[in-house]
Amino acid sequence: MELTLNDTGDVRVITVADNRIDAAVAIQFKDKMRELTESGPARILLDMTNVDFLDSSGLGAVVAVMKQVGVDRSFELAGLTASVQKVFSLTRMDTVFTIHTDVQAAIGNGLANAS
């Protein structure tokens, strides 16, 4: 489970490099996300543009990450593909998460200043 990290201003953008968050990697995803979100900016954005498949294990792991980030910081999602969006909407988890079309929409011009 490969995740890349980019802090731009007050947002930590974590990009999922793998194209599946499924039962095979859900636990690794959750554990790596815990490491990457333990400290750093209070606003965390998960870029899921590369993810074309998410099953219930993957969904559970994403929920676990949001719970771990907690109420004092924010955890948002960006770039959900159609299949992944469908899992969120069927389970109504799209009412629980803040979901952006893409990273650009989430952080505006912050990308222009990314190092």
Binding site: A23, F53, L59, G60, A61, G70, S83, K86, T91
Partner: protein
């Protein structure tokens, strides 16, 4: 046991104990895909990939294939985690049949029976709760029920059989 393509006729017959058929192989004629593979996550990924190729070759769109992949993943994940309890390396048998544009599925395993000898109802969660109380699991059967029709679970001897239909996008029956 020899695996790979092309198959010998005797390998196409699913008889006896599923554990005898170790190694992934499949048959693909015009309208049916038959896969037998070990009950582990990596083999499941391979089976899902073969299923998607089969459906693409039949002309199904990604919008139609997406729900199929999800349902298969959920059903087989349940077999791996519960029927085979993650301890026992059992075998999973998946058939996908396309009949008049309808997709029929049969999934078999030789693991433990489903609780109460019936497929779970898969109730939706109430998400109107505090963050710390949000559910992290239990979505699988809900998703299966949402995306399938005519779901039937039967058990004969040691064998579990799950059959269902995935209606195509735009169809409500």
């Amino acid at each position: 046991m020899e695996t790979g393509w092309p198959m010998h006729p005797e390998q196409l017959v699913f008889v006896g104990n599923a554990r005898e058929h170790i190694g992934a192989f499949g048959t693909m004629d015009n309208s049916k895909l038959h896969l037998v593979f070990p009950g582990d996550q990596i083999s499941l990924r391979g089976a899902l990939a073969k299923s998607k190729t089969f459906l693409r070759d039949l002309g199904f769109s990604q919008d139609q294939i997406g729900p199929v992949e999800l349902v298969l993943a959920e059903a087989v994940n349940n077999i791996i985690e519960h029927a085979y309890s993650d301890d026992v390396h059992g075998v999973v048998d998946v058939s996908i049949t396309c009949v008049d544009g309808d997709l029929l599925f049969r999934i078999m395993d030789d693991g433990l029976p489903m609780p109460g000898d019936q497929a779970p109802a898969g109730m939706a969660h109430d998400l109107n709760c505090d963050l710390i109380d949000l559910p992290e699991g239990g979505f699988g059967w809900f998703l299966i029920r949402e995306l399938t029709c005519d779901l039937v679970y039967t058990r004969t001897g040691n064998r579990n059989r799950l059959e269902f239909r995935v209606p195509l996008t735009g169809r409500t029956t």
